[in-house]
């Protein structure tokens, strides 16, 4: 089994209207419950706005602290889910459902260590 990171890419700016947001939250919750029932769910969580991020860089033997986020851009990771799956097709299947629930693009990326190692 491989662990996969499903990152949610969220456009910067105001959140969608509250009615839409409520439905999205419900759909994501329902999907999380389904993932847990299927035994694939490892962790998931939503993040605060990218403006709340802080970046640390190694510098002269110490660490330089600066205001984030790290990457400039119009989209940032808005949250993520970690699942275990036997192969990419299974991971893409869950990822596709997460895209449907969040209404946002999802990046699926494998972890290096196999699950259970």
């Amino acid at each position: 089994m491989t662990r996969y990171l499903l990152s949610v890419y969220q456009p910067d700016g105001p959140a969608p209207p509250s009615a839409d947001l409520r439905r999205i939250m419900q759909d994501v919750e329902a999907l999380n419950r389904e993932m847990k029932a299927a035994g694939v769910w490892v962790f998931s969580g939503g993040l605060h706005q990218p403006g709340t991020a802080t970046v640390l860089r190694p510098h002269d033997g110490g660490v330089l602290i600066s205001d984030g986020p790290f990457a400039e851009g119009k989209e940032h990771i808005g949250g993520f889910t970690i699942i275990t799956a036997p192969d990419l097709d299974a991971a893409l299947d869950w990822g596709g459902r997460l895209a449907g629930a969040t209404t946002l693009p999802i990046e699926v990326r494998p972890f290096q260590d196999a699950a259970g190692d």
Partner: protein, 407 residues
């Protein structure tokens, strides 16, 4: 014992490459190990075959030899702590490698190579490398990229298959139609890349057509129940049948209407038409089958003027309803010009948003010429000439433009 030439050994390996690689990739669960194993078997063959002769079943010999070599190599290199290698060895020692599994293995490998998680260009390169047995250098030359670039692309793709665990399996029923479309698109892309001959070594380009047809035949053998698989094979065979007539001895392009039909390959036409007839009987039309049928109608006509344009127009109408696109609409307009006249066709063409496509301007130019609007036709030819990257096509457009003003 007949002496076996090195070139003959190479040909046999090229022929059997996909078969051997597919089995070994399943046995070892790793494409890199499979590739190295086939390479090792080739080294052994070069030493043994010249004196021992060709084995009765070259594919079986390659698979068995490669498998033994790979197991030896893995045992030598494996540390006891290396659990991955130990697991691979355990699998490779027990799994069946008999011929019966080969069909499924090649089909699995095709779907792995054409997985949507890989970029389209990468799917093409992987398919040519792993199923076609083309060398990285050959693929690089065919697609006009430096060899190290192509090598890097292939390494990255194989790394993604391994690390992201792109599965080695034929997709389930729900995904099959979409995934099969991707496989067909890859094969047709290879064919078209060979057919357009945009530039580069001519021979290599023709090799791509041959390779695409070989892959098409393989897929037809593996999935005979899929009408679009048969449709694509028929489309490629019928297009390929006109290759010899498509250019003059000097390499000048000759359009369909002006081709010497005696130079068409009757064998390929008969094969392609037979498949089209089978598809028609089955009654599950799709874009490749309809395009094949259009080509079959052209192949039926003893002269260009005897072409049954009404039937072609009907087929284009059908194509527009199942796979509409501006390019299909443009090709349909050509048929409309023959059935209803250039005026009706020009109205359709002018409504299309294809200003960057050279054939849009070339077809407009031809319609304007037929309507006697010479100045506008010349302008359209200029637009077409400026937008084509293919030397032979450009020359033809220049000749047509000259005829216009010379007349």
């Amino acid at each position: 014992m007949p002496a076996l030439l090195a070139s003959e050994i190479e040909r046999v390996f090229r022929e059997e490459y996909g078969r051997a690689l597919a089995v070994l990739a399943r046995v070892f669960g790793d494409i890199d190990i499979a590739e190295e194993a086939v390479q090792d078997a080739f080294t052994v063959a070069v030493q043994r075959w010249p004196s021992a002769g060709l084995p009765p079943s070259p594919a079986g010999w390659i698979i068995t030899t490669a498998r033994h070599r790979a197991i030896d190599r893995l045992r030598r290199e494996a540390s006891r702590a290396d659990r991955h290698t130990q697991a691979v060895l355990l699998l490779a020692g027990s799994g069946p490698a008999e011929e019966a599994a080969v069909r499924d293995d090649r089909l699995r490998l095709i779907f792995t190579c054409c997985h949507p998680a890989l970029a389209a260009g990468v799917q093409v390169a992987l398919t040519l490398r792993l199923l076609g047995g083309l060398s990285t250098a050959e693929i690089a030359r065919a697609f006009l990229v430096p060899e190290p670039t192509m090598a890097q692309r292939l390494v990255r793709a194989k790394g993604k298959i391994r690390d992201a665990k792109i599965p080695y399996q034929v997709p389930g029923e729900a995904e099959l139609p979409g995934r099969l479309r991707a496989v067909l698109a890859v094969i047709y892309l290879i064919f078209n890349e060979g057919y357009t001959a945009s530039s580069g070594g001519r021979l290599i380009r023709e090799d791509l057509c041959t390779e695409a047809i070989r892959l098409g035949r393989l897929l037809a053998e593996l999935m005979p129940g899929e009408p679009e698989v048969m449709g694509l094979l028929a489309l490629m065979l019928l297009t390929e049948s006109r290759r010899a007539a498509r250019s003059t001895g000097d390499g000048d392009l000759v359009l369909l209407a002006d081709q010497d039909r005696d130079r068409w390959d009757r064998g390929l036409i008969a094969e392609g038409q037979a498949i089209v007839r089978q598809c028609l009987q089955r009654g599950e039309p799709g874009p490749y089958q309809i395009q094949a049928a259009i080509n079959a109608v052209h192949s039926d006509a003893p002269t260009a003027s005897a072409t049954d344009w009404r039937q072609i127009l009907q087929l284009y109408n059908q194509l527009m309803s199942c796979a509409p696109s501006p390019v299909v609409a443009l090709n349909r307009a050509v048929a409309v010009a023959e059935v209803q006249g250039p005026d009706a066709a020009l109205t359709l063409v002018d409504g299309l948003d294809l200003g960057n496509y050279h054939l849009f301007h070339a077809i407009r130019a031809d319609l304007l010429r037929r309507l006697g609007r010479t100045a506008e036709a010349a302008q359209a030819y200029d637009m077409a000439i400026a937008r084509t990257g293919n030397a032979a096509e450009r020359d033809l457009l220049r000749r047509n433009r000259q005829l216009l003003t010379g007349a």
